[in-house]
């Protein structure tokens, strides 16, 4: 099945290409938005990566997991922006935190949980955010995360364990405030 998809990927037209990445796109967008904290920046990131993928569409047949490949590209794209605009990014974090703080009380229980989660994630490193996003929100398997983050599966488990504990602690601290 996978081989068939990949063979057809060699001669993809536009609609086949879009269909091929249909499920990956929301995941790409959410990871970019988690890291870049801006709807516009996240949308641009997906656009750029999709165009890069389109350009490379003839080579995609040589890649055995194109979704993980797309996630790697969006992760690298977002990391590059974060590295080049560190100060800008910190400002946005501040903005976002005060925003969710304001609305938390008025929102329903679900929205409160989401706000709490996002506030805690905002205080974490972008590597921690990425691994939480990939495992907890997008529910990728360990070997896929290993591929996306260019790590070994063992290191993925170790990093995930640390990130989960940190997230847990941050959420507790925020709740106690």
């Amino acid at each position: 099945m996978l081989v068939m998809i990949l063979k057809s990927a060699a001669t993809m037209n536009e609609s086949q290409f879009l269909n091929h990445f249909k499920n990956a796109q929301p995941k790409m967008y959410r990871l970019a938005k988690r890291l870049l904290k801006s709807d516009d920046l996240a949308q641009d990131a997906v656009q750029e990566v999709m165009l890069k993928l389109w350009m490379k569409k003839d080579q995609l047949s040589g890649i055995n997991n194109s979704e993980a490949y797309a996630m790697t590209m969006i992760k690298n794209y977002a990391y590059d922006i974060l590295k080049s605009k560190r100060h800008n990014h910190l400002e946005l974090v501040q903005e976002r935190v005060s925003d969710s703080e304001e609305n938390a009380e008025e929102k329903l229980e679900k929205k409160q949980s989401l706000a709490l989660l996002e506030k805690a994630l905002d205080q974490m490193s972008y590597k921690d955010k990425t691994i939480i996003q990939l495992r907890e929100i997008e529910r990728f398997e360990f070997d896929q995360i290993a591929e996306i983050l260019e790590m070994t599966p063992v290191n993925v488990r170790v990093s995930l364990s640390r990130a989960r504990k940190k997230l847990h602690e941050k959420m507790k601290i925020i709740l106690a405030q």
Binding site: Q47, Q112, K165
Partner: protein
Amino acid sequence: MKMKEDDIRELLKLYDLGETTIEQEETLRDFFLENTDIPEDLEIYQQMFVGFQEAKKEDYDEFKFEKPKSKKLTHQFYKLAAVLIVLIASSFYLNSHYQDYKQKEEARLVFKQTKEVLDKLSFEMNKASSNLKYINKLEETKKRLIQ
């Protein structure tokens, strides 16, 4: 499928160590999303799993190959701009040449007119001076008559 609290606590230990599978994490998720009376010390996990669930709901409008089209459009725009620049530049150039040509033409016309006037003048002068020969005749006749 109600799980016993002890089983959930066991799974959470594995979860914190990064040792749970996707299926085991589904079990945990279901437990926290379906139950309302969660032991107080596990409430933070409930917040976490509810938050994860909510975070996945954010959707994305599908990518639609808009960028290459707009790139083509800007490309067209640059082409148009280049053509316009050439047109404007050449029209200035041609205009200055035309002005030059017009000035020369005018000068030629003035020269021609002047020449005509001068020709006419010299013709009249010649005619007038040819009449002067009669002055000599007058002189001759006068001498003849006086002698």
